[in-house]
């Protein structure tokens, strides 16, 4: 009896290990919608990116800026995004798309901020003692931003037993750094109905 129990346990263990090790990985199209858990995923990020990139460049804030600044293109810096939802969400996945659209459109200029700017300044500092005089970059000649892009992610969860409705709202705001005037607000609302 005991030997049978041991043999069965060993067999089950081996079968679990062997079955779980038969992993299969396939490449998929990043634009393909695959929802597994109902949580925030790449499709949501993509939808937000599409919405934001479409609306931010079409809005009149670009032309308004050019009119009041002798045709100069607005300069934007990306600020902080606050995730106030119930899930860990990194905004960089869609913010980068927005930044990319700025550069590709040629209508908006983008300056680096945060840690990357620190790195740039550190590199500049390094050049002061290591680079040749002709190639050394000077301090105090950075392009100042006219606008800062900030954002927030909020969510509402309504669940009952095995059913759940999750609502996400992503907001991006563009604010004039000089006057604090908000010149553009973009939002993307995503609602999901999840049943288990």
């Amino acid at each position: 009896m005991n030997n049978i129990l041991v043999a069965v346990s060993a067999l089950i263990t081996l079968s679990i290990v062997s079955a779980s090790c038969s992993r299969k990985v396939t490449r998929i199209d990043p634009s393909e919608q695959i929802d597994l858990s109902g949580r925030w995923n790449n499709t949501d990020s993509r939808l937000v990116a599409e919405e934001m990139t479409q609306t931010i460049l079409r809005d009149k804030w670009v032309s308004n800026h050019q009119e009041s600044n002798n045709g100069a293109k607005p300069v934007v810096i990306v600020g902080m995004v606050t995730n106030k939802s119930h899930e860990h969400i990194d905004a960089e996945t869609f913010i980068k798309d927005v930044e990319q659209s700025f550069i590709q459109s040629g209508k908006v200029r983008l300056v680096q901020g945060g840690k990357k700017r620190e790195e740039l300044r550190a590199e500049k500092a390094d050049q002061q003692t290591n680079a040749s005089a002709s190639s050394m970059k000077k301090f105090g000649l950075e392009q100042g931003a006219d606008y800062i892009l900030q954002g927030s992610i909020n969510s509402i969860v309504d669940s009952q037993k095995r059913k759940k409705v999750v609502y996400y709202q992503v907001n991006l705001e563009l604010t004039n750094i000089q006057s604090n005037e908000v010149v553009w607000i973009g939002d993307k609302k995503i609602a999901k109905y999840v049943t288990n």
């Binding site: 005991n2 129990l5 041991v6 346990s9 060993a10 089950i12 263990t13 081996l14 679990i16 290990v17 779980s20 090790c21 992993r23 810096i77 990306v78 600020g79 902080m80 995004v81 606050t82 995730n83 106030k84 939802s85 119930h86 899930e87 860990h88 969400i89 990194d90 905004a91 960089e92 913010i95 901020g113 945060g114 840690k115 990357k116 700017r117 620190e118 992610i153 969510s155 969860v157 669940s159 009952q160 037993k161 095995r162 759940k164 288990n196």
Partner: protein, 147 residues
């Protein structure tokens, strides 16, 4: 004396006018207070630019709560098994087969009894449970490893 006073007046007026030229039209003359404050804070604030500040909350979610409770139960049982395996023999003997505890045996819950099925009537006849538990643990570790 009159000349000195006149000179002082001109100097004061000139200095004041010069200071005023540093202000943009309609600029608050007390802007220095704010500037000095944020000059000190700028480095720490701007270092977060381009990042996502995680200020998440815990949503009321029936299934998620259930899953966490299940995980906690599993963790507890795992620790209990490990503890029992560490104290094998001594623990059970003290619990069931001393004269003081023996009479409590029929009132144990099924689950509690089930863990101790290897022990019966004060006679240890079987040690397959720790072995099976070890195999199951190894299997689980293997499964998690390969997942």
């Amino acid at each position: 004396m009159k000349r000195h006073l006149l000179l002082f007046f001109f100097i004061t007026a000139f200095t004041g006018a010069f200071a005023q030229t540093g202000l943009a039209p309609d600029q608050n003359p007390n802007y220095n207070a704010s500037r000095d404050k944020y000059m000190r804070l700028a480095d720490s604030i701007t270092s977060l630019q381009g990042t996502t500040y995680q200020d998440t909350y815990r949503a009321i979610d029936y299934l998620e709560d259930k899953r966490e409770a299940r995980e906690q139960r599993r963790q507890f049982r795992r620790e209990l098994r490990m503890e029992r395996a560490r104290n094998a023999g001594y623990y059970y003997y003290e619990d069931y087969h001393t004269p003081y505890n023996y009479n409590y045996y029929p009132y144990r819950s099924y689950r509690y009894y089930r863990y101790n099925r290897g022990w019966y009537g004060g006679y240890y006849y079987n040690n397959t449970l720790p072995l099976a538990a070890t195999l199951a643990t190894l299997g689980t570790i293997g499964w998690l490893w390969c997942r």
